[in-house]
Each structure stands twice: as structure tokens, then as C-alpha cells.
């Protein structure tokens, strides 16, 4: 696959192979940027009982950039995303194999606590799910408070900071004690993003964050994503190709549980290496 890409796309920068564990394979998609990889994924496979949902995915997700994961329904995008913060630990029948290195340390290594990983790798879900029994302010700070943070000054500061980063401060600053579910759908989703940001993760995973929202709210979320990437690594699953093209720097195309192609968004959408990728982005299927 690497040979293919080098042959047909000379615009890809030729980099020294990324430093990683022994047994470097040629079949790994290259890290396109000069920035270090935030997440180095090697041969990641996820199966639920007898069904293999994700087969041997290997890629490097660069830091401080937006990576989009695209593909038709059932291709393993969400499965891949959830493997990055060990959400599959909650499913008894799930088996995860392979390596996922978060800034160098394997998150599935022996003795690694999932709780610690999930504080470093946050997640925002498709359906906004603010906790119904809590106010707006309590929702944002819940990740800190339930992890033992008592310092009120710190909580207030993080509350303000997260709501500003989520472009929600101006809209809710007068009703921080209102119930969180009294906000509109788009506001609730931004609240969930603020909630995830409050614990200051290094990576933020977003599973179709705008798919349940109207176009105006979607545009706001996309602006937010572009602003966030200065400080965070973002990985976004989306079934909306135009959204992927608008917000992401790199795109990975999955199909039937396999990573088909991964590269700069510009390239994937204008001059993809694989025929399958081209068929998908031009709408011939999916």
C-alpha cells in the first residue's frame, strides 16, 4: 500500500519512517505530517464474539491536527474510534488486539488503567447526553469533581475556559445553574464538548458530533473543531464526506472493517490512490 501511494502521489512528503516498536511493517500508512504522531496504531483488530468488526488497522494520527474517519455504515469507524479510549472494555464480548500508542505509551499495555487513559483521550458522542440531574455548570465540571478535584477556584476557571473553548460561554453565562437539558440540541452538544474539554484531554474523539444537529448548529460545531485543533488532537468520525473535507487535515477511509486508505484530506478527495476510495468519495456507493 505504501509503495502504491509513493508511486501515484509524489505530492506526499517523503519522511523518515516513524520511530516505533520492533517489526516495522511496510504496509503501514505513512505519518503525513512532520508533527509527531499523537496516536500510533498498529494492527488493531476488534471482534465481538465471532464477528470481526475491525481488521488489522494501522495508521498514525498526527498531533494538533484533525483526522477524519469516513466510510459507509458498518465499516468499523465507530469501532475503531472506541478502541482508542478503551471503551470496548465495557462490552464483555469484545476482544481488542494490536497496539495503540498514545504519545509513546501503549494504552492496552499490562497494568494500564483505563480510567487514566480516558482522562487523556476524551470522547464526544453522536447524541448529546448532558446529565439530566445536573445544571450546566455542574455538567461541565463533573469530570473534575468526580475525580476528586475540590478546589473551587480551579473548577470555576476550568468551567469558564471550557465553555469559552466550546463557543458556549456567551449563550449560557447567565444561566449556569439552569438544568442542562433546558438547552437546545446544538447547545447541549457544545455543552458535552465543554464537559469533555474540562478534564484537559490530549486527544478528543468525536463520534459523528453533528449528525443529530441542524445545519446552523453543525456549522458552529465545525467552527469549534477548527478552533480546537490548535491545542488538541482531534479524531472525528463522520458519515458526511463534505464535513470531512471541510474540517479535517487527514482522512482515513474504512470499508468493511478494513482501513483502505489514509492520507491528507486534499489528496483523498482529489487524487485518491485506491479505486475504492475514489468510488466512495465520488458517491458511486455508500
Amino acid at each position: 500500500m505504501t509503495e502504491n501511494q509513493h508511486k501515484t502521489s509524489p505530492i506526499l512528503p517523503v519522511l523518515p519512517p516513524p520511530r516505533r516498536a520492533l517489526g516495522a511493517q511496510a504496509a503501514i500508512a505513512p505519518a503525513p505530517a512532520a508533527a509527531p504522531a499523537a496516536l500510533a496504531i498498529r494492527d488493531l483488530s476488534v471482534s465481538f464474539g465471532p464477528n470481526c468488526a475491525l481488521k488489522q488497522a494501522s495508521l498514525d494520527i498526527p498531533a494538533r491536527a484533525v483526522t477524519a474517519i469516513i466510510g459507509p455504515n458498518g465499516c468499523g469507524k465507530s469501532t475503531f474510534l472506541r478502541a482508542l479510549n478503551r471503551m470496548h472494555d465495557l462490552v464483555p464480548s469484545a476482544r481488542v488486539q494490536g497496539q495503540v500508542r498514545l504519545f509513546g505509551s501503549d494504552i492496552y499495555g499490562p497494568g494500564v488503567q483505563p480510567v487514566v487513559i480516558r482522562r487523556r483521550v476524551g470522547m464526544v458522542f453522536q447524541k448529546a447526553n448532558p446529565f439530566p440531574t445536573m445544571s450546566v455548570a455542574d455538567n461541565v465540571t463533573v469530570g473534575l469533581r468526580l475525580n476528586g478535584v475540590r478546589d473551587r477556584a480551579l473548577l470555576a476557571q476550568r468551567l469558564h475556559q471550557s465553555l469559552v473553548m466550546a463557543i458556549l460561554w456567551d449563550e449560557v453565562k447567565d444561566r449556569l445553574d439552569a438544568p442542562a437539558i433546558s438547552l437546545s440540541g446544538g447547545q447541549q452538544q457544545r455543552l458535552c464538548i465543554a464537559r469533555a474539554l474540562a478534564v484537559e484531554p490530549e486527544v478528543l474523539l468525536m463520534d459523528e458530533p453533528a449528525s443529530a444537529l441542524d445545519p446552523l448548529a453543525t456549522a458552529r460545531i465545525e467552527d469549534l473543531i477548527l478552533e480546537l485543533k490548535d491545542n488538541l488532537t482531534l479524531v472525528i468520525v463522520t458519515h458526511n464526506m463534505q464535513q470531512a473535507a471541510r474540517v479535517s487535515d487527514y482522512t482515513a477511509f474504512f470499508y468493511m472493517g478494513q482501513l483502505v486508505e489514509y492520507g491528507a484530506t486534499v489528496k483523498i478527495f482529489t487524487n485518491p490512490a485506491k479505486q475504492q476510495t475514489e468510488d466512495y468519495v465520488t458517491g458511486r456507493f455508500g
Binding site: G122, N129, V142
Partner: protein, 268 residues
């Protein structure tokens, strides 16, 4: 068809209305201040009250809740949140069977296990048997209510790096709190009227109970004793006691309704 179903619905209301009307009519006459403050008088003598029985019922409910609520709620949380499929199946099966065990059998069991070794009837034994009856009830209702909490909240809580135990207690159980309290109140209403198990555990008392290891009076027990006695005065007192008991249970059910009414903060 509509006429038939309407008639059936009315048929359900009729016994309820009859019960309320009859108890109210027969009992209201004997209700006075003395009823709520005085001890039972010796048999045949007019006057007296059921103060000790009313207080005794509250005491027994309190003891029962001490046992039933923690065990039932924690059991329900275990069944719902910690998924050991095979084990949970057996626990649910056991709880469902226990829910159907006649309460007099519970009374006999606790009599053999507690009353006989203690060589005496006691409030402890009464509270214990009522608590045992409450446990499977509360366990099942708690589990059902927790299952209704959308999975999204659990995932969101865990994705924030909150440890599982804290996520369950502070977020999931908090979201289901109304339902859990409803289950507890309904279980309390159910055991408040249990008479048979108390017959040989709490036994009843015509005096005040000064120590929890002594026999204790309870409303259903006192009603039973008065109802089978030959004196008319006792019968009047029994109706009054029945009215008070009915009122207690009705208040609990109204409280349940008030708690579960749809307000602004409905879980979406």
C-alpha cells in the same frame, strides 16, 4: 366492545370504593384524640386507643427499611450494572420466587431463626421479617429503573475518566433516584399491612415497647386481635385502626404519585 371495557374498568373501582366507604363509615366514629394517644384498655372496657400500635408500626417499618433498603438497592445496582449473565439470571429468579412466597412462611422462618434462639418475641424479629419481604421487591424495582437509564449516560461518564463505581452511584443511580424512591415507598406500603408474619415475630403488645428486644404492637396485629374479640367496643376500635392503616397506605401512594409526576426535568 367499548361498553364491555368500560364496565370492567368500573368493576375495578367498585371494590376500592366499597372498602373506603365502609371503613370510613365504621371507623370514623371511634376516631378521637384518645385513640391516638392512649394505650388499649382491658378487654370490655370502653375507651382507650391504639397509640402504641401506630408508633409500633412506624418502628417496625423503620427497622425493615434499615435492612431492606440498603440490601435491596445495592442488589438492584449489582443486577443492573455488573453484568454476570449467568449469576444474575439466578439472582433474578430467586428474587422473583421470593416475591411470591406467602408472608406467613417468612414469619415462620424468622420465628425459627430469631424468636426461638432469643427465647422471646421482639421488635427485632418483626423488623427483620418485614425487611426480608422488602428485599426482593426493592431489588427488582431498582434494577428495572436502572435499566431505563439510557446507556449514553454511562458511556459519557466513563468517557470522562470517572471510575465505574462513582459513575454508577453519582450519575446513573442519581438519574434513576426518583424511581428507586418510588420502589422503596411501594415496598413500605406493602409491608405496612402485613399481619401474618408479625403474629409470631413481633407478637403484639398492649403496653408501650421500651426496648427493641421486647414484643411490639403493630396496627395490623391490633386490628386482628380486636376483630376476633367478642366485644362491640373492640370492633369499633378495630374499624378505627383499619381506617388509620388505610390512610397511611394511601398517603404513601399519593407521595409516590407526587414524586413521579411529569415535571420540567423529564429525562429525555
Amino acid at each position: 366492545m367499548q361498553a364491555v371495557t368500560c364496565a370492567c374498568a368500573l368493576l375495578v373501582v367498585v371494590p376500592l370504593a366499597l372498602v373506603f366507604y365502609h371503613v370510613l363509615k365504621s371507623g370514623i366514629g371511634a376516631l378521637n384524640w384518645a385513640f391516638f394517644t392512649q394505650l388499649p384498655k382491658p378487654v370490655g372496657e370502653p375507651g382507650g386507643g391504639m397509640a402504641n400500635a401506630i408508633v409500633g408500626t412506624f418502628e417496625l417499618l423503620g427497622l425493615a427499611a434499615l435492612l431492606g433498603v440498603p440490601v435491596g438497592v445495592c442488589g438492584g445496582i449489582f443486577l443492573s450494572e455488573y453484568g454476570y449473565t449467568r449469576l444474575n439470571w439466578w439472582i433474578r429468579f430467586a428474587a422473583d420466587v421470593l416475591n411470591g412466597v406467602p408472608s406467613i412462611i417468612w414469619g415462620m422462618v424468622v420465628c425459627a431463626l430469631v424468636v426461638v434462639p432469643m427465647q422471646g418475641f421482639s421488635a427485632w424479629a418483626g423488623g427483620l421479617v418485614l425487611g426480608f419481604i422488602m428485599i426482593p421487591l426493592i431489588m427488582r424495582t431498582t434494577e428495572e429503573v436502572l435499566r431505563l437509564v439510557p446507556q449514553g449516560y454511562r458511556e459519557a461518564a466513563l468517557a470522562l475518566g470517572i471510575p465505574l463505581r462513582r459513575a454508577i452511584l453519582r450519575i446513573v443511580a442519581r438519574a434513576a433516584l426518583k424511581g428507586i424512591v418510588t420502589g422503596i415507598l411501594l415496598a413500605l406500603a406493602r409491608v405496612a399491612g402485613e399481619t401474618a408474619p408479625l403474629l409470631f415475630t413481633a407478637f403484639g403488645n398492649v403496653y408501650w415497647n421500651h426496648h427493641l428486644s421486647e414484643p411490639i404492637a403493630a396496627l395490623p396485629l391490633q386490628i386482628f386481635n380486636y376483630a376476633i374479640s367478642p366485644y362491640e367496643e373492640s370492633h369499633r376500635q378495630a374499624w378505627a385502626g383499619a381506617l388509620v392503616l388505610l390512610f397511611m397506605v394511601a398517603i404513601i401512594n399519593v407521595a409516590v404519585r407526587a414524586l413521579t409526576r411529569e415535571r420540567f426535568g423529564k429525562i429525555p
